[in-house]
C-alpha cells in the first residue's frame, strides 16, 4: 500500500559486516567437535576429515556469497529481500502484512552493536524473513520505515493518531531506559524472583533451558553440551552407588538439593529471560522489551490480540500474582512455537507476572472498548457438580473393591502370625469420594461466563484459575459438544474458536451448560460475531 508521505521514499540496505564474523564463529562451532573426533580417530577415517573440511568450506563460501549479495529495500509498500550469486532469490513481503518486527540481541551481538531482526507476517505458512545481523541504528531505521508505511489503525477512523509521526520519533527500541510510548507496566525484580519461585516445573525447565542456552549457546558448541550432560548423569549414578549404606538419606538429600537448585535455577531463568520487562503503548502498538543477557524487543498492534488470558497458577494465586497471555493471528506464531519446542522466549506473554489486582486497570489498554468487569458471572448448571464428581466416585469404589479383594486373598494365603494390614485398609480409596466432591464443588463455583456487547469472558479453575477474554469480532466459529455422559445430564460444552490459539492453551470454553442455554448462547455468539467485523491483517 504505497503512501503519499515523503517518508515512503525507498530504503535500501545491506547486512552489517559483523555478519561475516558470526558466520565464521558459527561454522567453527559446528565443525570443531567433528574435527576433533576425526583427528583423534587418526588416519583411518581421513575421508571423514576431508568431508568435514569440504562441507565447512562450501558453507563458508555460501555464507560469504550470501552476505555480499544480500540486500533489502523498501519500495512500493513492499519489503524486498534479494540474495544469491548464481540462483538469485527474491522475497517480497507486503508491509501491510507485517505483524511484528522482533529484535533480538545476544551477548555477542552487543559487543558489535548489532541486532538480529525477525519479520513476522500474518497468515501464510512462514512468509517470515530474518535479517541477521544489522547494526542497531540500521534496525531502527528499518523498523521505522516499515511501520511508517503500515497503514496502522488510521483505517479505523483513528485518523487523529499520527502513526507516521510517532513512528519516526520513536527512539531505539533496545534502549529501554528511554522506552517507547507510555509505559503501561514495568515488572520489578521482586516479582521476577517470586515468578521464578512459583513457576510450575515444566515452565521452569523451559525457562531455565532457554535462558541458560541463550548464554551457553553463544559460548559452547552443541556436541560438547551433550557430552557434558552425559558425564553429569554418569557421575550422579556412580555417586548414588558409592554412597552405599544409607540410600534413603542420600535420596532425601538429593531431593532437597534438587529442589533448592531448581528454585535457584528457576529464579535465575526468570531473571535472565524477563529482566527489566517493560510493556509500553504507542498509539495502537504495544511494545515489549526484556532480557538480561539476550535482549528482546517486539511490537504488537493491540487489534491483533485474538484472545487474552489471565492465568493464575495455584502458587502464584496464593501470592496474588497473575500472568497475562495473548494469542495473535499469525502463521508465524505456530511455526515459532514448534521451532522452539514450546519455549517461546517470552513471546507468548503480555506481562509475565503482575499483581492480579492490577489487571482490571490494565485491560482497557489492550481492549479499549472493553466492558467493565462483570459483577456477577453467569454460572453453569448445578448438575455440573454431579457430572464432575461421578467419575471420581466410580474410580474410588472400583479401587476400594479391588484393594479389599487383594487384601482378603492375601490374608487367606499367608499363614497366620505375620503382621498383615487390616481389611479396613481397603476402604482407604473411599477418601477420594469427598475429595472429588469438594474439588467439583470448587470448580463449579468458579466456572462461569459473561456475555457483553462486544466481549465474551469465561473463567474456570479450582486451585489454578484462568480467565479468557475474547472480542466477539474475533470469533471464528462456535462449537457445541456433548459426550454420552453429558447427554445423560442434559449438559453441553461450548468452545470458541479463534485464529492462532497457540499461547493461551486452547482459548475460551465452558462446559456443563444446560443444553437449551448452550444452544441459545452459541446462537447469540455466532450472530454477534457475524454482525461484528473481523479483520485479519490489521
Amino acid at each position: 500500500m504505497p503512501s503519499d508521505e515523503p517518508a515512503a521514499a525507498a530504503l535500501h540496505g545491506r547486512l552489517h559486516p559483523a555478519t561475516l564474523i558470526f558466520t565464521v564463529v558459527g561454522l567453527v562451532r559446528s565443525t570443531f567437535f567433528p574435527l576433533v573426533i576425526a583427528l583423534l580417530a587418526g588416519r583411518r577415517v581421513a575421508w571423514y576429515l576431508w568431508a568435514i573440511l569440504g562441507f565447512a568450506g562450501l558453507s563458508l563460501l555460501w555464507s560469504v556469497a550470501r552476505y555480499f549479495t544480500f540486500t533489502y529495500s523498501i519500495a512500493g509498500g513492499e519489503l524486498v529481500i534479494r540474495h544469491g550469486l548464481i540462483g538469485k532469490q527474491e522475497r517480497h513481503i507486503p508491509l501491510a502484512r507485517v505483524q511484528d518486527v522482533r529484535l533480538e540481541q545476544g551477548v555477542a551481538h552487543r559487543v558489535f552493536g548489532v541486532v538480529k531482526v525477525d519479520i513476522e507476517t500474518a497468515g501464510g505458512s512462514g512468509a517470515e524473513a530474518s535479517l541477521s545481523v544489522l547494526s542497531v541504528a540500521e534496525a531502527d531505521r528499518l523498523r521505522q520505515a516499515i511501520f511508517a508505511q503500515v497503514p496502522g489503525e488510521a483505517a479505523d477512523g483513528d485518523a487523529d493518531i499520527p502513526a507516521l509521526a510517532t513512528a519516526a520519533a520513536a527512539p531505539s527500541v533496545l534502549r529501554r531506559s528511554r522506552g517507547e510510548g507510555e509505559t503501561l507496566w514495568h515488572v520489578p525484580l521482586k516479582d521476577l524472583v517470586l515468578a521464578g519461585l512459583t513457576a510450575n516445573h515444566l515452565g521452569t525447565v523451559m525457562a531455565v533451558l532457554f535462558g541458560g542456552f541463550a548464554l551457553v549457546d553463544d559460548l559452547i558448541p552443541e556436541e560438547s553440551e551433550k557430552q557434558f550432560y552425559r558425564a553429569a548423569a554418569r557421575l550422579l549414578s556412580r555417586g548414588l552407588a558409592q554412597a552405599g549404606a544409607a540410600p534413603w538419606v542420600v535420596i532425601g538429600v538429593a531431593i532437597a538439593a534438587g529442589l533448592a537448585s531448581a528454585a535457584v535455577f528457576s529464579v535465575a531463568g526468570s531473571i535472565l529471560l524477563y529482566f527489566g520487562f517493560r510493556l509500553g503503548r504507542d498509539g495502537e502498538d504495544l511494545h515489549r522489551g526484556y532480557g538480561l543477557l539476550t535482549r528482546r524487543a517486539s511490537r504488537l498492534p493491540r487489534r491483533r490480540i485474538q484472545v487474552l488470558k489471565i492465568e493464575e497458577e495455584f502458587l502464584r494465586r496464593l501470592l496474588g500474582l497473575a500472568t497475562l497471555r495473548a494469542d495473535t493471528a499469525g502463521g508465524a506464531a505456530t511455526a515459532a512455537s514448534q521451532q522452539d519446542g514450546g519455549a517461546h522466549g517470552g513471546r507468548d506473554v503480555l506481562v509475565p507476572v503482575l499483581p492480579r489486582a492490577s489487571v482490571p486497570a490494565l485491560l482497557p489498554q489492550f481492549f479499549p472498548d472493553l466492558e467493565p468487569e462483570p459483577e456477577t458471572w453467569r454460572r453453569v448448571s448445578p448438575r455440573a457438580v454431579r457430572r464432575e464428581a461421578l467419575p471420581g466416585v466410580w474410580l474410588s469404589l472400583f479401587l476400594s473393591a479391588g484393594l479389599t479383594a487383594v487384601l482378603w486373598n492375601v490374608e487367606r494365603l499367608v499363614p497366620a502370625g505375620i503382621g498383615l494390614p487390616s481389611l479396613w485398609w481397603g476402604a482407604l480409596p473411599l477418601l477420594l469420594v469427598p475429595v472429588s466432591f469438594v474439588s467439583s464443588v470448587l470448580s463449579y463455583r468458579h466456572l462461569g461466563y459473561a456475555l457483553g456487547a462486544r466481549y465474551f469472558r469465561t473463567r474456570r479453575g479450582a486451585l489454578s484459575r484462568a480467565e479468557h477474554i475474547v472480542p466477539l469480532r474475533n470469533v471464528q466459529a462456535v462449537i457445541l459438544r456433548q459426550t454420552p455422559f453429558d447427554r445423560r445430564q442434559r449438559l453441553a460444552r461450548l468452545q470458541i474458536d479463534s485464529a492462532g490459539q497457540v499461547y493461551t492453551g486452547g482459548g475460551p470454553q465452558i462446559e456443563h451448560l444446560p443444553v437449551a442455554e448452550a444452544i441459545a448462547l452459541a446462537r447469540t455468539l455466532a450472530r454477534e460475531a457475524e454482525r461484528q467485523r473481523y479483520r485479519w491483517d490489521r
Partner: protein, 186 residues
C-alpha cells in the same frame, strides 16, 4: 474504532440472560439419503481391508505362538468382525440421523456425531474459502461434500458430507454469496 459512551457500555454490559437467543433445538436439514449407501460402501471397503489384514496377522501370530493362542485370537478377531459388521450395517443409519446442516440468519450450523455429538456454528462472514470434493465413491452415488475453511485454529475446516452434487454446488454458491455480502472480505 468507535469508542462507546460509558452509558452505552453500562447498558450493554452483561445482560446475559435476556440477551440470549432462544435455545430451541435447531431444525436441521438432513443430508441426502444416498449417503447411507456411500458410508456403507466406504466402511465395507475400509473394514474389509482391516479384517483381511488382521486375519492374516492373527494367522501368523497363532502359528508362531502355538495352539494355546488360537481361541484368544479367534475371539479377538470375532469381536473385530462384529464391530465391522455394526459399523458397516448399522452405524451409517445412526450417523445419517445425527447429521445435518442449517442456514440460520447468516450463520451456518453443522451437526454430526453419533455418540460424541457436535454442532458447529459458523458465522458466514468468517468463511475464507469453500472446497467442493467429489471422490470416486461419491461420484458413483451422485454425491459431493463441501469443506468450509475459516481462519480458526481447531475448526479451521468444517465438512458437510453427503450432499446431492447439484445441491452442493447451489449451497456453495449460496454460502459464498452470503459470506461475501458482509463488509469484511478478508
Amino acid at each position: 474504532m468507535e469508542t462507546p459512551s460509558p452509558a452505552e457500555i453500562e447498558s450493554a454490559a452483561h445482560t446475559t440472560p435476556t440477551r440470549l437467543a432462544d435455545g430451541r433445538p435447531p431444525a436441521f436439514t438432513p443430508l441426502d439419503p444416498r449417503v447411507v449407501s456411500l458410508w456403507r460402501l466406504d466402511n465395507a471397503v475400509g473394514y474389509g481391508i482391516l479384517l483381511l489384514l488382521s486375519g492374516a496377522g492373527a494367522f501368523f501370530l497363532g502359528r508362531a505362538i502355538g495352539p494355546v493362542a488360537w481361541p484368544w485370537l479367534a475371539v479377538a478377531w470375532g469381536a473385530l468382525a462384529l464391530w465391522s459388521a455394526f459399523m458397516t450395517m448399522r452405524h451409517p443409519t445412526l450417523a445419517y440421523a445425527a447429521s445435518g446442516y442449517l442456514l440460520e440468519e447468516r450463520v451456518l450450523l453443522i451437526r454430526r456425531g453419533v455418540w460424541w455429538q457436535t454442532i458447529q456454528f459458523l458465522p458466514l462472514s468468517r468463511l475464507q474459502h469453500v472446497d467442493l470434493n467429489r471422490g470416486p465413491f461419491e461420484r458413483r452415488y451422485g454425491l459431493a461434500s463441501l469443506v468450509l475453511h475459516t481462519a480458526g485454529t481447531h475448526a479451521a475446516s468444517l465438512q458437510i458430507p453427503g450432499l446431492d452434487a447439484d445441491e452442493a454446488v447451489r449451497l456453495r454458491d449460496q454460502l459464498v454469496a452470503t459470506g461475501a455480502g458482509g463488509d469484511d472480505a478478508v
